[in-house]
């Protein structure tokens, strides 16, 4: 179980004016600016939940994950992960978590992933039988095959990410912090990683907190989402509720058969070659009936607004000046 209360993190970053004069001045007079990356975030996540942690670039998602994993020390507030205070970085805590960062790696660059796996077995004191069993499962679920015996530097990004996931999960952590685990992967690899994360969560009941800019990841994996923007919590609830809150309307799209030229009555309006009715969810049935009554042979589709659009609108609404 993860509990976060009024969590804050402020960075102090050096600043200098551009150009040579600014560079020279900063040698003896360094100015700093305070950046409030996380401002009073509060939430709780139950054991076994899969939660999407979303927000625009610079919202404070990764900073929060790093505080939850014990890498960063909060400026103030309380954090508890499975009963541990992460910033103390006790071995018993670190054995229960993992943090996978899509843009950072733990694999030993010049050696095959198998060596990193062996290193982690030793560091996490994983019993031999459990190590063999888990590695076998990971190899199957992630289709690792002979990848584990090739030097990491010779693997593609997707292959490396699969091996990163394997290295991060060998000790069967109870809490998975996944920071953009599908970034840069092709569509096939994204699907595979998504499927794997869902399977792993179901198999071991691990808690998953995931950040991603790919809405397909969120839709496939996260019944619940926590949204932060400009360091503050903006939404915490079911993904469907967020969609209903931001984009409460549905689109009923009809394509009449060839030769049918009569205009559809309101609320339908012509958009290219299709007639589209933008209606409230409660009015979808009536619009469908109306469409069929007008043109029985038409092709009809009810569309939810794309998640990308939902989040884009949501972030715009919560943009700080």
């Amino acid at each position: 179980m993860i509990a976060v209360k009024d969590l804050r993190k402020t960075y102090r970053v050096p600043q200098r004016d551009p150009g040579l004069v600014g560079a020279l001045r900063s040698i003896w007079r360094r100015e700093h600016k305070e950046i409030r990356a996380v401002e009073g975030v509060t939430f709780e996540i139950a054991a076994g939940e899969r939660v999407g942690f979303l927000g625009p670039n610079g919202a404070g998602k990764t900073t929060t994950l790093k505080m939850l994993a014990g890498l960063l020390r909060p400026t103030s507030g309380e954090v508890s992960v499975n009963g541990f205070e992460p910033q103390r970085r006790e071995a018993a805590f670190l054995e229960q978590i993992t943090l996978v960062m899509g843009q950072k790696q733990q694999l030993l660059w010049d050696l095959p992933p198998r060596d990193t796996f062996a290193l982690n077995r030793a560091l996490y004191q994983i019993p031999d039988a459990q190590f063999r069993e888990t590695l076998g499962e990971l190899t199957t679920m992630l289709s690792l095959g002979e990848l584990v015996d090739r030097p990491t530097r010779n693997l593609s990004l997707g292959e490396r990410m699969k091996c990163e996931l394997a290295a991060a999960l060998l000790h069967r952590p109870k809490v998975l912090f996944l920071d953009e685990p599908t970034i840069g992967l092709d569509v096939v690899m994204q699907l595979q990683v998504r499927h794997f994360i869902a399977q792993w969560n179901e198999r071991f009941g691990s808690t998953v907190l995931l950040t991603s800019h790919y809405m397909d990841d969120v839709q496939a994996l996260c019944p619940r989402v926590i949204v932060i923007a400009a360091g503050a919590l903006r939404f915490d609830g079911r993904l469907t509720d967020l969609v209903a809150q931001v984009k409460p309307r549905r689109r009923v799209v009809v394509r009449p058969p060839a030769g049918f030229t009569a205009a559809f009555p309101p609320p339908f309006a012509l958009e290219g070659e299709a007639w589209v009715a933008d209606v409230a969810p409660t009015d979808v049935g009536a619009a469908v009936q109306q469409g069929f009554a007008h043109c029985p042979g038409m092709d009809l589709r009810v569309e939810e607004p794309p998640l990308e659009q939902v989040f884009a609108d949501f972030f715009v609404q919560h943009r700080t000046p």
Binding site: R73, L94, L111, D115, N120, L123, P151
Partner: protein
């Protein structure tokens, strides 16, 4: 500690595999630490007309031969690795593991010793054959104390690197500070001038500094320039400096970690 001891065989195996991946580069690094050979030639010329400060050409050849060995056995480079790890956030992967990363780095350092020995043994044999007057002998007691003193000197160098590496939590880069330290170490540690040949003011100052414990003491023991009755006191001073430096390095590291910003991603 128990976890680290159990992990040792795997740590050594992985460190050796990494070493073999970079063997050519490591070999070049080993060969760049041959300053004692240069100093041997220089002091040889100085002592051509007779002993200097009681040290003849044979003594000086012995001193710098042992310096070469000690330098290779006590080499540390951790601050060079810590700087980019701290600056780019690469340290995060180490901090997420349930064991102090210093064990990992310590084993990495120690795993270099066999390769260094492979390079050193023929080199030293050639030096002994070329300069038999140096009288370098492998007396078991002296050799044992020399190895022990080298181990203490290595640990002292290692924790000094932790300290200088940890300064990067504040400064972003601390190699410049370390290079300043390295200059003092070269001067006071006996790398360029045997401690016995230092002017009185420098020798007095050196007594209050840690550099002798980091190189000169093991070299003086190994080169038979320190009487056996002085060994215990010399080893004790190494231990004292080690404890002091370990305390400073641990404090700096802990304080620095609070400032760690885990950049990247």
């Amino acid at each position: 500690m128990t976890r680290a001891l159990r992990a040792m065989p795997t740590l050594f195996r992985v460190a050796t595999a990494q070493l073999s991946a970079y063997r050519a580069e490591v070999l070049i690094w080993i060969l760049t630490a041959t300053m004692p050979l240069v100093m041997m030639a220089l002091w040889d010329a100085v002592a051509d007309g007779g002993p200097v400060g009681g040290l003849g050409q044979g003594d000086l050849a012995r001193y710098f031969t042992v310096t070469l060995v000690a330098r290779q056995l006590m080499s540390a480079w951790l601050s060079w690795e810590l700087n980019p790890l701290i600056r780019t956030g690469g340290l995060s992967a180490h901090l997420l593991r349930p064991m102090s990363p210093f064990w990992y780095w310590l084993v990495q350092h120690v795993s270099h010793v066999p390769l260094r020995a492979v390079v050193l043994v023929p080199l030293i044999a050639a030096l002994i054959a070329w300069r038999p007057e140096m009288g370098l002998t492998l007396d078991p007691a002296r050799t044992s104390v020399f190895v022990l003193s080298c181990a203490l000197g290595f640990l002292l160098n290692f924790v000094a690197h932790i300290f200088f590496g940890a300064l990067a939590f504040w400064t972003g880069q601390s190699q410049g500070l370390f290079m300043g330290w390295f200059g003092l170490w070269s001067l006071f540690g006996g790398y360029l001038i045997p401690a016995r040949l230092m002017p009185p003011w420098m020798a007095a100052l050196n007594d209050a500094l840690p550099f002798r414990a980091m190189l000169s003491i093991p070299v003086e023991i190994g080169a038979s320039l320190m009487a056996p009755e002085a060994w215990l006191g010399a080893l004790a001073s190494q231990v004292a400096w080690l404890v002091a430096f370990a305390g400073i390095a641990a404090w700096t590291w802990r304080r620095g970690l609070r400032r760690y910003e885990a950049f990247g991603a």
